[in-house]
Amino acid sequence: MTADLKERPPRTPAEDDAFKNELVTLIPHLRAFARTLCGDAAAADDLAQDAMMKAWDARASFQMGTNMKAWTFMILRNQFYSDKRRSWRQTQLDQEAAERTLVAVDDPEAPIALDELRQGLAMLPAEQREALILVGAGGFAYEEAADICGCAVGTVKSRVSRARRALQGILEAGDYDRDGSAAGDAMRSILADAERLSTVR
């Protein structure tokens, strides 16, 4: 799924409207994906807005009827990494800031398990975290996630499976940066919450 830059026939206002309407429905998803990449909510919204405008500007190269969600996620991800390359010296600082923010922005009323899950995610290598988010939370098929990340399907599969194992290990060991919580508490609360959620639904 490379962005096809071939010129297509001029677009009609109706086509632009259809594109815009679909793009608008994707904004919440772009914000959520950006939040997982940036950590910092304000930086994430800047990234999501950039991606939205890039998608709008490139609408002539998008074929209506194909997967616009995957297409916009790919644009957002590329934007994120090209911003990163531009400020590669900042990368380490950004990572530290993201980890702090993942902790800091938490609602004190939020269930404890969510807090711990965020911290566990922050400890994963970026490519594993991204693969797990796309497949495990974003609802993408392995093939779509591979297109978004520009890698092979098998690579995505192995990243997702390594991420799942690592995350479970982190949560069970209590091996995240938190004081006063006994090892295994995170996993216990996640199991309890999952049970509660599944009975509610």
Binding site: P13, D16, K20, L23, V24, I27, P28, H29, R31, A32, F33, R35, T36, D45, A48, Q49, M52, M53, W56, D57, A113, L114, L117, R118, L132, I133, G136, A137, G138, G139, R164, L167, Q168, L171, E172, M187, I190, L191, D193, A194, E195, L197, S198
Partner: protein
């Protein structure tokens, strides 16, 4: 001993451990989706739509 699939107790223990691991992975999955969906459900800040509206208007002349 009416378990034909796992005649040895260790085999049954393995199966139980596998079930437990699956349960934990499912629980993590539920949480992960919830974390993502929480942001999806947030109201979209006005500036997103404003920026898009401005871009559209600019091009229409």
């Amino acid at each position: 001993m009416n378990q034909h699939t796992s005649p040895n107790p260790d085999g049954r223990k393995d199966a139980a451990a596998l079930d437990e691991a699956r349960l934990r992975q499912q629980a993590i999955g539920v949480r992960l989706r919830q974390m993502f969906d929480d942001v999806v459900k947030e109201p979209v800040p006005d500036d997103f739509l404003e920026i898009l509206r401005r871009a559209d208007r600019r091009e229409q002349g």
